[in-house]
Symmetry: C3
Subunit: 141 residues, 3 copies
């Protein structure tokens, strides 16, 4: 976690641009303290006949689905802040495409139902998480 799934029509991203976006996303989460290897970004290309917006095949379109661990209490203000923070990552790379509709939403799920390499990740903000972040690896703790 976090998991980003970027559904997109053909021609939106080169392999280099995918790498650039995935690295920028990982940078952002790392800056707020998350182990970098937590960040998984999947790209899923769909032909216009498989990508409909408003009932019509979309020549260009990007739809991003993000899964986050729900760490905070349900609080509108912090969720809005998260959404703006996500916008920062996407907007510079997407708004240059003419006529592109791009949309994202975040789903929040429980940390208790999450494992990496069979390990329960350490609690958010813990010393063990900091070590995972420094080592950029999941180690027993």
């Amino acid at each position: 976690m976090p998991l980003w799934t970027v559904h997109h029509t053909p021609g939106i991203f080169s392999a280099e641009e995918k790498h650039g976006l995935a690295a920028a996303i990982a940078d952002h989460y790392q800056e707020v303290g998350l182990p970098r290897f937590y960040v998984v970004v999947l790209f899923h290309e769909l032909r216009p006949e498989d990508f409909h917006i408003g009932g019509e095949p979309a020549p260009v379109g990007v739809r991003v689905v993000i899964d986050h661990i729900a760490r905070r209490l349900p609080d509108e203000r912090s969720r809005r802040r998260t959404a703006r923070w996500i916008r920062e990552m996407l907007q510079p790379r997407l708004e240059r495409h003419d006529g592109l509709q791009w949309e994202f939403h975040v789903d929040e799920t429980s940390a208790d139902l999450w494992m990496i390499n069979g390990l329960v990740p350490p609690p958010g903000g813990s010393e063990a998480e900091r070590r995972w972040a420094q080592d950029n690896a999941a180690t027993a703790y």
Copy 2:
């Protein structure tokens, strides 16, 4: 939002039938007041070796995952009504396939964690939302 992801085995839908289903889904949401461009429908074809039902590769199968904004209070009756309303869109197009198992579920997520073209969509039922619906476009409000 809403986002429909239709996972299906080969041969279930022609390009025309995908378009027809996506248009019917957009029609339904538009009828209840949603801007038509909110409705994104993705089709994801999987070979039987990638689509297992009950532990066996499925020659035919449809599994629909729907993401909705959670606008209402958690209320069993309105959720059941939503499920029946979704069934109406799918059943006429799917029940003609012999031996097809089709299943859907809806996940409800927070409106606060959602943006289109970098804009926070207007509140449900607001004047601004009605304008977005009339214009079928996301404009500053």
Copy 3:
């Protein structure tokens, strides 16, 4: 429900291994009383350029997303038990791959927003559910 989506890089699973994993997953749910046909397992292969971990294309990676019906009260202990139970299904088949990062999380959604073949599945633990499990088929009840 449950729905497992296994995102993976090329070369992780042969067709036989996919079948084996899907069957093992169905076995586990069947053992706890679920109708076997409820269990849908999708495999989604992504090239390393479409599968980034920590901002880098991953030569090998597995990311599993599981959707469950939220049947129990929110209770950390039972969620942790579910996560360990899921680990049992995945670990023996994944830990033999050197350098593979594998991660899963579970999202819990509402039973009220779920249908199979246009039918509302019977309540968990009900006599009707037991009949569906025995028949391994969705029948009117």
